[in-house]
Amino acid sequence: MKTVNLYFQVHQPWRLKVYRFFNIGKDHNYLDDFTNRAIMQKVARQCYLPMNALLLKLIKENKGAFKCSFSITGSAVEQFRAYCPEVLDSFRALAETGCVEFLAETYSHSLASLSSKEDFVEQVKLHTKMIKDEFGKKPVAFRNTELIYSDQIGEMVSALGFKTILAEGAKHIMGWKSPNYIYTNAIDNRLKVLLRNYKLSDDIGFRFSNQGWDQYPLTAEKYAQWVAEDAGEVVNIFMDYETFGEHQKADTGIFDFMKALPKAILSHDLKFATVSETAKVSQPVGVLHCPHAMSWADEERDVTAWLGNELQNEAFAKLYGLKDKVKALKNADFEYVWNFMQTSDHFYYMATKWLSDGDVHSYFNPYGSSYEAFINYMNVLADFEIEVEKALAAKKSRKKEIA
């Protein structure tokens, strides 16, 4: 019996407001509160609330036979708390069914895994604590920002005590191998690697409403047939949770598709499992070698969407250059800013690779150009740096006074 592993990623970045040179040194509110609230409430209305309600119904209807997994970023949870706490309640209701697993990831949906072990560990610990506090269970499986994975990242994750990690079934890594089996990390064999079946995942995520697609319209029965026919032991279907109702609007029929999917899948020789359960259904078939970082983004499936040009590299270097100073402050206000500045979306807006995946990039980009995004980010960072320096100086002088 083949296992179907449904996993959804929930993320919303804290968007920066238009922050000019003239603001530097005077204005320390960096966020676009109106846009953040408007987007969060819109997505909650169109996606999170109706989809959570649907999943809850499906779990109850199928009496434990339907299962799925989530990872929710810290910045998304912060925004749920601020703008629509009812979403958080609905996720808790899902957690209580026991059929839903919550994964660990980086707190800020950050690129810390590409910066240093220290930054990465801090981000993961912060997120693990948040998930435990919100949903009552310490996560045991891990997924990195945008499915960024390499042998080294896997080793760090295993050292943190996680048993399973998700990664992209990227063609350049897999070669002739199938993503429909379980693999292990090349450095630490205890860590199991589940690979995304990008064909079956993108059939829902990207192609579902594409009327030019020769398989349009996609029905649950047809899809279940494809899953059943795909050779292997596990089928890993990973996608953005915002696919449901946001990227694919309600009028495309995506909710009806989802409503019919569990029955259709279960009518074949298939069963649902969470990420951690999936990792245990069979023995790993081999070791996956991935010396360079890969991700689930763009045609290239690498990290060039975030760190692919000099603008992104400069912003990244300057951001993490502040790390020690922010740490030394031990101040929650500064750490709050420090966290949202790390979010990978800021770097994504600075991408200049518009050829293959320009559509996807511009869909998510609030800026007119990569250069605008860079200027705005650096202006905010400049002010943040000045504030950090000031606070450090004040702290030092206080220490002297006490002494």
């Binding site: 530097i24 040009n309 400069e314």
Partner: protein, 439 residues
């Protein structure tokens, strides 16, 4: 003395420095008892007419294709790539068709046929620098001929600003027989990199200067280009440096956000302005003194290139971009600056350092700018000499006494550059031109 002046723009609606210079100049001329009739392609009606009478060329009905009177027909013919009737709409509405049809039945004449070989037409100029600039330049000449005819006997000399108005000046001269003075605010060689100039513009510039009785250059730098590259006899080319007029309104000093010293570049981010030399100099300074911030205010075709260079040099946390600034933001930027720099590769004059000096900011300018000829209290460097530039920035940032001296003396110096004096020189040029003509 009365002068018929052809310009392209006039405050408040201006795109560049040309309109501002024309305004200051006409005020100065008025103080020197020179009456100015200022013709522009498109007046908005809110121009300051206290010192000058503004004529809107879009209101003038001009006669086209009348070889005896127009005086501009050969200009129209020379610019053969222009379609005179492009003002006409390609499609007509049913109502218009009915009207034309009716008149055809009555007169037996098709609507595109006109009486005789001449007709009058009003042309609405955009007065901008758009795609059909060449057409507007040619039509402006036709209108200029008509203006000169209507104002016959009411002016003694014609004065045309920049190549856009040269055909107009020539046409007016032919109709009236009055002497023509053309004013070179910039040359084709300033607008392009190297010798890749727009030859159409070059030809118009040369034709204008060849037909003129006197040529005014805004600097000796420009005068040399005119003599060397356009072959205009030296004795007909006179340098009159621009001046600067400051609004008397006091701008309030904005609160400083950062304690670091601020070094500012303000202008179009194009090859001509030398933005990349500024970036290289900034990187050199930042290696020695960390507490300096550099600001590049403006926009332009080299902006993205400059941003990339800044990122690659790893100085983006200290090098800021503001985008295009206007109005109060420009004043604010000057007020916030500790050093102003204009590293232009080629600048016929360059008014912005004067504005900076007016705000008590010490300035560094390139030797390749016209304004360098009139300033003593400005550090002058070759635009390519980024070491010298970095040196000067370092000096102003590190030695307050030096900065203080340049800002105090600089303010005195810039206050002495008055349009009254420049206008007096221009008046002399008019008189020379008139004397030559009378001979």
């Amino acid at each position: 003395m009365r002068v018929l002046m052809f310009g392209w723009e006039f405050p408040p609606h201006i795109a560049g420095g040309l309109g501002t210079a024309c305004y200051g100049m006409t005020r100065g001329l008025a103080r020197n008892d020179v009456e100015v009739i200022f013709v522009m392609p498109r007046a908005s009606g809110d121009e300051d007419e206290r010192f000058v009478k503004v004529v809107n060329a879009s209101d003038i009905e001009a006669r086209y294709c009348d070889s005896n009177i127009a005086g501009a027909d050969d200009i129209m013919r020379k610019i053969s790539f222009i379609h005179i009737d492009s003002n006409m709409v390609p499609y007509i509405s049913p109502e218009e068709f009915a009207t034309y049809r009716e008149s055809y039945e009555r007169t037996g004449k098709k609507f595109w046929e006109r009486e005789g070989d001449s007709w009058t037409q009003r042309y609405t100029f955009s007065g901008k620098y758009g795609a059909n600039l060449m057409e507007e330049v040619a039509r402006y000449a036709v209108v200029a001929a008509e203006v000169a005819r209507q104002l016959e006997g009411k002016f003694d000399v014609i004065h045309a600003h920049d190549w856009l108005t040269y055909f107009a000046g020539i046409a007016a001269k032919r109709v009236s027989g009055k002497p023509l003075v053309v004013h070179m605010h910039a040359t084709s060689f300033d607008r392009s990199s190297g010798d890749n100039i727009d030859t159409r513009v070059y030809d118009i510039e040369r034709a204008g200067m060849a037909a003129a009785d006197r040529v005014i250059a805004v600097s000796n730098l420009t005068r040399n280009i005119i003599i060397e590259k356009y072959g205009i006899p030296a004795e007909r080319v006179v340098t009159v440096h621009n001046a600067v007029r400051f609004s008397s309104k006091e701008t309030e000093i904005p609160e400083r956000g950062v304690e670091d010293k601020i070094v500012t570049f303000l202008g179009r981010i194009t090859y001509q302005k030398g933005p990349d030399y500024f970036v290289e100099a900034a990187a050199k300074v930042l290696k020695r003194v960390p507490n300096v911030r550099f600001v590049m205010a403006g926009s332009g075709d080299m902006m993205n290139h400059v941003i990339r260079r800044v990122a690659r040099l790893g100085i983006a946390d200290r090098f800021h971009f503001t985008g295009f600034l206007k109005g109060d933001d420009v004043d604010k930027m000057f007020q916030l600056s500790d050093v102003y720099i204009m590293p232009s590769v080629s600048e016929p004059f360059g008014i912005s350092p004067l504005e900076a000096m007016r705000s008590n900011v010490p300035v560094i300018i390139s030797k390749q700018s016209g304004v360098a000829e009139v300033l003593d209290y400005a550090v002058k460097v070759d635009y390519w000499d980024v070491d010298a530039m970095a040196d000067a920035i370092y000096g102003f940032v590190k030695y307050p006494a030096l900065a203080k001296m340049f800002s105090t003396k600089g303010l005195e110096e810039v206050t002495g550059l008055k349009w009254n004096n420049a206008a007096a020189k221009i008046k002399d040029v008019y008189e020379d031109a008139m004397n030559d003509c009378a001979k």
